[in-house]
Amino acid sequence: MGQIKWLDTSVGNVVATYDIRQVPTSMTQNPQNAIIHVGQTNGVCSLWSPNKGKPVASLLVHNGKVNDITIDRSGNYMATAGLDKIRIWDLRMYKRVCEHYYSVPITTMCISDSGILATGFKNVVELWKGYNTQMKKPYMIHKEQHDSHLTKVAFCPYEDILGIGHSFGFSSIIVPGSGEINFDSNVATPYQTVRQRREATVVELLDKIPSELISLDTSNIIGLMDEKEANQKKEADEKNRFEAANPGKAYQPHRNSKRGTPSKFASTKQHMTVNKKRLEHEPERIQLEKELKQKKKKKKKKKKKKKKPAPKNNPQPTRPL
């Protein structure tokens, strides 16, 4: 049993805590939609959002445990390392793109800004260019000290440098062509001054999006709807419907026992509309429901009546052949 926990670093509160049924062995975040990918011992990579108690999606990636997961900067490709293979997945279609075989299980992986995949096992780092396609040779191989074990590899964001953490310490190597050449100063600057850093923290806080927006598809969702207003509208609509169908009767609001999660609205100006066709057939449907209820009541009464005369061993009517 594992647990996944989200902490708000600006405020300091725990946003959500959920139980993971399997033991998690690796974790990474998708930079495009902020979903956490957790690799588990049963070979499943589950995708978690702080808004849902269950994984939003899960992929069976390997036969054994998932040693490491890494995701491309664009959020399109995910590389997972199992006991004997690396597999590369297309995250939009949830399909496998390709796989590479290794004789030794891969311990760490990282994908650079420009799409170079670094894989680490024992004391060797292999760098692959164009990991999406089936490649024969790696772009580069780097070997550390003979008896060292690699624990983590990571690319420096806007430089051609790969950092390697191993049992004897830290070392960095130059990987030509792995860094992003043009940085955007609003996002991140290698030449950030103290003042800029201070400004950036304030701007980050101001632009902070509520965690309720974290979901698989971020293309059109931009904000939260006011729950109260939406509920009031809903109730008003239902009241109108009821009064239209049953003139003269008093409307009693239906109260849900469950609390609703905050709902999201799309960036297009579509408001929640009442299905007009549904409204048209509303009185008929209410009638049908009534009739069904009455039938049920009658059935219940019949059943009760039937129970009494049963032990008299009356012959039951048979079906004609």
Partner: protein, 475 residues
Amino acid sequence: VSTQSTGGVTRNNSALYKNIKSMKVKVLNRDDSLFTRSRSTDIQKRFKNIQPELHPFEKAREYKRALNSAKLEKVFAKPYIGDLSGHYDGVYCMARHHTNLTWLLSGSCSGEIRMWDSSTRKCVADWDSHNGFVRGITYSWSGDRVYSCGSDKLIHLWDLPSSVTGIIRSDTVKTKLQPKTTWMTNNALQAIDHQRKSSLFVTVSANVVNVWDPERSEAVQTLTWGDDTLNTIRFNPIDTHIIAGTSEDRGITLYDIRGNTPIKKLIMEMRSNSLSWNPMEAFNFTFGNEDHNAYTFDMRNLDTAKLVHTDHVSAILAIDYSPTGQEFVTGSYDKTMRIFKSDQSRSRDLYHTKRMQRIFCVLYSGDSNYIFTGSDDTNIRIWKTNASRNLCNNHPRQIEKTNYETALLDRYKDFPEIKSIKRRYVPHKIKKINATKTIIKQSQRRKKDNLRRHRRAGTVPIEKEKEKHIVKTVT
């Protein structure tokens, strides 16, 4: 943009690379001087990469920024700047100089005219001019003379006091000015206005419109239509031969100087109190009516209003267009002042103070950044046109940011959260009166609808709001 350059890399430590002593490697290398500023007085350089991969959650962040800017707009909304006080009685009329941004003239109900320097907020000159109300006041187009008319049937022409023209600024100089020229009329004068780019000025007394030339002792032209007194008069700033005036018979009359005739008359349901021409669109004018509305008309077609601006809760007493022609401000009897956009029927903003009483005159400053209101409580108040905008010399990057924020607010203005933030606090009395007004309107509409439903089709026509308040147009 950084370049990839060659650099030498040596790997001598590993036994595997014994034979290779040096290797040429092309590595990402940034020239620091291109990315950092050369002097501490320079601004920091900015770099952009528009790839969407680097900007996740773009739309959500944009919406959040729109929310923030809506909230900050409310936080920074401090429109009241200061006041020009000194008059002994209510300020009845104001005029601004067409070249000097800071000079402002005001005439009060005690017959006193004051000239103000709005940047220092001090009275530069003040003199007694009339034996009654100062009904109208204006600068000449040459800028060195002042015309004033009052309820004592006199029109005075004053030279600007030497304390002003001599660039010697002193605190309230009570000068004893003598008018350079005086004209007498038969009846009390109601308003005065000066033609642009010439020396002609026009006054209004009883039912007569007089066009004067300062060189002549008699009116150059006299125009009359009907027997009712006229209240205001305004020269069209672009078609300078056209004058518009409002009269007691609930009408607005257009006169032409070249033809020496009145052209058209538009009669409304209630009397109009004030009129202003759009300085950018020569043919549009807006007037404020007693029925709490302001109407924009195209002078070429007086059959329908272009727009009906409703929001005030009492009669509109004063109206003035911004020099940009995009907005106008109205001051009303309900002690508030509203800013409307020329193409919208609802007000953009509302300014009020507990101390500000009935507003008699409003004026935009020459750079359209400030609004002056002269009211019954003897004060002229200075307000900002945009309540939350910083008016000092902004850095181009700051200007870019404010433009971005206004564009954001414009894009997201219909979203419920932002709408609720932008909802403006309205003083309690006005809110109540508005509530009763809406009830009245709704009941009237309901009754009309019922009539229409129970009569033969076509007997009760649907009235357009823009035509409803017009009684007739007369040529």
